[in-house]
């Protein structure tokens, strides 16, 4: 990473003494200024909350001084690399504001782009089943089912029900919290009853008590699932040490980025065979899998073809023009190869590819 030039730092300091600290993670002045503004708004909210509390308790409270203190602390933490989303407590995922906490991966905008695109394709589709069921593996904060539900809300004739699966209790707690926050009062229009979250381990063998199949049977959720999505840990060991950002390595859970404690055994592909096996088991018509790059995408596409799926790869921005064929597989959109979309049976008609 190139060094920040002293003149830039000087200029930033002249604009606001807090800016140089933010330049370290942000690298550009405009994004540092944006982050400072968002942090300032957040500090204002916190201080206001305390001020209201102080009013109730009838004690003296210096709102302005407090706000300055809070802001300085936030900037210090951000300067050390804490993701902004953890400091502010939320992240925008598509049209939704999803809450985030330490220990759970922050939803990424690329995931939002592919989820939104999938939901928009399905919204236009004809002869969808009356009840469309979505199974999301490695759900984390629960962002994918919530956004899918939100996007499909405009389709009146189809009832969407979603199930999110994760192995981490912390992630499940956050997902349920998000469901309650987003679903309550129907502000964003997510139907609370139609989304559930359960704990299961995707990597376990079928016989283990907490394996996915066992859990689904136990919860009475077995049977057919129309759409399967997953944003599994996919970072390879090499990429973890070379191209993964420092703040991600230091602050986001490694379990959400890498398959297990010995990732050197493979290039981050651990999850995909299991997910595809599950997809066959639940008879999924559409499978959307996020991948690290085009190379991994092509590997996963090969796996999917072996399990008799049709495959296309979406890039970061799938709804923009751009199409090519790489290794016999259609790649659509702009940016890095990001998602592998597989379908069979009726799925092709729903996606509008047939």
């Amino acid at each position: 990473m190139p060094r920040l030039s002293p003149s830039l730092l000087r200029h930033a300091r002249s604009l606001n003494p807090l800016l140089p600290a933010l330049l370290r993670p942000c690298r550009t002045l405009s994004s540092a200024q944006n982050e400072l503004r968002w942090l300032d708004e957040h500090a204002e909210r916190i201080a206001q909350k305390y001020a209201n509390g102080a009013e109730v308790l009838k004690c003296r409270f210096e709102t302005k001084a407090w706000k300055c203190k809070v802001l300085r602390e936030l900037v210090r933490k951000r300067g050390l690399g804490t993701p902004l989303q953890y400091l502010l407590g939320s992240e925008y995922f598509g049209d939704l504001e999803v809450f985030v906490r330490r220990g759970v991966l922050v939803p990424r905008c690329e995931t939002a782009a592919s989820t939104t695109h999938l939901a928009r394709l399905l919204r236009r589709a004809e002869n969808l089943p009356e009840e469309l069921k979505l199974l999301d593996l490695c759900t984390g904060s629960g962002c994918i089912p919530l956004l899918f539900q939100h996007e499909m809300r405009r389709r009146q004739d189809v009832d969407v029900s979603c199930l999110g699966v994760d192995v981490e209790e912390r992630a499940l707690r956050l997902a349920r919290y998000n469901l309650c926050k987003v679903g309550r009062g129907n502000v964003a229009g997510v139907d609370g009853d139609a989304v559930r979250f359960v704990r299961a381990d995707v990597l376990r063998d079928i016989d283990a008590p907490d394996s996915l199949t066992r859990v689904l049977e136990k919860e009475g959720l077995g049977g057919k699932w129309d759409v399967l999505t997953a944003n599994p840990p996919y970072v390879s060991l090499k990429a973890y040490w070379s191209s993964t950002a420092l703040s991600v390595r230091h602050f986001e859970p490694r379990r959400a980025l890498q398959a297990h404690n010995r990732p050197e055994m493979d290039g981050g592909d651990t999850f995909y065979p299991r997910i595809l096996r599950t997809a066959r088991l639940v008879d999924a018509q559409i499978v959307l899998l996020e991948v690290a790059d085009l190379q991994q995408g092509l590997r996963v596409a090969g796996l999917a073809r072996d399990s008799e799926f049709e495959v296309v790869i979406w890039r970061d921005v799938p709804d923009q023009d751009g199409e090519e064929v790489v290794g016999g597989i259609r790649v659509i959109g702009k940016g890095h190869g990001r998602s592998v979309v597989c379908w069979r049976g009726a799925g092709g008609r729903w996606l509008g590819v047939e």
Partner: protein
């Protein structure tokens, strides 16, 4: 060797010119300019395509266009028919095998067909003239006294009454937006400094735009004590009344609207994560930049942490910026029109468009050259005024035809 006789320069110039210059009257020639004819033919082809399109499904835009083209098509059919009969008759006459009696009959018919062809080409030419873009709009008439002092002010009030009478008779809704009399009161019949009349009827602008200009009056004013005839002038401005809602403010999907932006003309740049993206990095950059390629308008928004919100805001901003630019351009056109109608220097008695002469009880329009003698009826906005206005409108059309032909000739070169 005898030297060439000396010839004066002007004689030389005369020799180089043809003896008789051909006088061309555009309107009465039976032949139509080939450029115009080609244009009519292309319109006919487009008309056919539109008809086919409408047969498959209704489209209000296509239907509107079809309605605009239909007079051209009708005129073209008439012209074709007349042209064919003329050429047939001519060939019949020139054919030596035709028996003389038939030839005589054909010669009689030829006269009638010729005049038909002349009419047909005339109507075809007029139908080809593009309708004024604002002709369908309601209009504003502004009346201000020019040279002539208080007599001009009195005549301005008379003109206002004339137009009010005209609107009443034709059932146009006319509202007086602004009127000021010289002594500050608002009684009628006394000198007027300014009046703006809004005529809220479809096609009002197309109907009344011929009224714009300086109207001259010649009479013995009531303020005159010695019985001398005075000449005064009043300027009349006719402007299309462009209201916000006539252009469909909020309708983003209507290509006619100011707010319409073709998504194909806009490049969307989203600031994507540096490096590998996905789980590898955690970006907070949510900026969206839109570039409208034809006008090179750039809008960049990074206020919100949510990219969809930024995008929505950027589109809104881009739309309103482009709409603003379009509106300014249109207003400039209106201002240019206003200047061309009545410039500051054009307020005198000389640049008149019409004269109202009380002594001879006549009204003469100087553009069409028409004179009528029923002055009282004109001043009441009666049918005689209609007659004059009609003549001016046809004069305007003639002018338009001339420019159309000139444009065609220029395009060919």
């Amino acid at each position: 060797m005898t030297p060439a006789p000396w010839i004066c320069r002007s004689c030389l110039l005369h020799i180089s010119r043809p003896l008789f210059r051909r006088l061309i009257r555009l309107q009465s020639t039976e032949s139509i300019s080939p450029g115009l004819l080609a244009r009519a033919r292309s319109i006919a082809i487009e008309h056919k395509q539109l008809t086919d399109k409408l047969a498959n499904g209704f489209d209000s835009k296509a239907a509107k266009k079809l309605g605009e083209y239909s007079p051209v098509i009708r005129a073209l059919q008439d012209w074709d028919k007349a042209n064919e009969s003329v050429s047939e008759l001519t060939s019949l006459i020139h054919d030596s095998t035709t028996d003389p009696e038939l030839r005589e009959l054909a010669a009689d018919d030829l006269e009638a067909s010729r005049s038909q062809l002349i009419n047909a080409s005339q109507s075809l030419t007029t139908s080809l003239i593009p309708v004024h873009p604002f002709a369908h709009l309601p209009c504003l008439i502004e009346i201000r006294p020019g040279a002539g002092g208080s007599e001009a002010s009195i005549f301005a009030a008379d003109l206002l009454r004339m137009y009010q009478g005209f609107c009443n008779r034709n059932n146009y809704r006319a509202t007086l937006l602004k009127f000021e009399y010289t002594n500050g009161t608002q009684e009628s019949g006394i000198p007027l400094t300014e009046a703006i009349l809004e005529i809220d009827a479809p096609n009002a602008y197309g109907m009344l735009r011929s009224e714009a200009g300086v109207h001259r009056v010649q009479r013995v004013p009531v303020t005159e004590s010695k019985g001398r005839v005075h000449t005064s002038a009043v300027s009349v401005l006719v402007l299309p009344s462009i209201q916000e809602n006539t252009l469909g403010e909020e309708n983003f999907d209507d290509p006619e609207s100011d707010y319409y932006v073709d998504p194909k003309e806009v490049r969307v740049d989203i600031m994507r994560a540096r490096g590998a993206g996905g789980q590898h990095v955690n970006t907070t950059d949510s900026a969206v930049r839109l570039t409208h390629i034809p006008t090179n308008t750039v809008v960049s928004i990074q206020d919100s942490r949510s990219q969809p919100k930024n995008r929505e805001k950027a589109w809104r901003l881009l739309r309103s910026r482009l709409a603003q630019a379009r509106r300014e351009k249109r207003e400039e056109e209106v201002v240019a029109m206003r200047r061309s109608v009545v410039g500051v220097a054009k307020m005198g008695r000389g640049d008149k468009v019409r004269t109202y002469n009380w002594g001879q009880q006549r009204v003469t329009d100087h553009r069409s050259g028409m004179t009528v003698h029923d002055l009282d009826d004109v001043m009441e906005g009666g049918e005689t005024l209609d007659k004059i206005m009609e003549s001016v409108r046809s004069w305007l059309i003639e002018k338009d035809v001339e420019t159309l032909i000139a444009e065609n000739a220029a395009a060919k070169q």
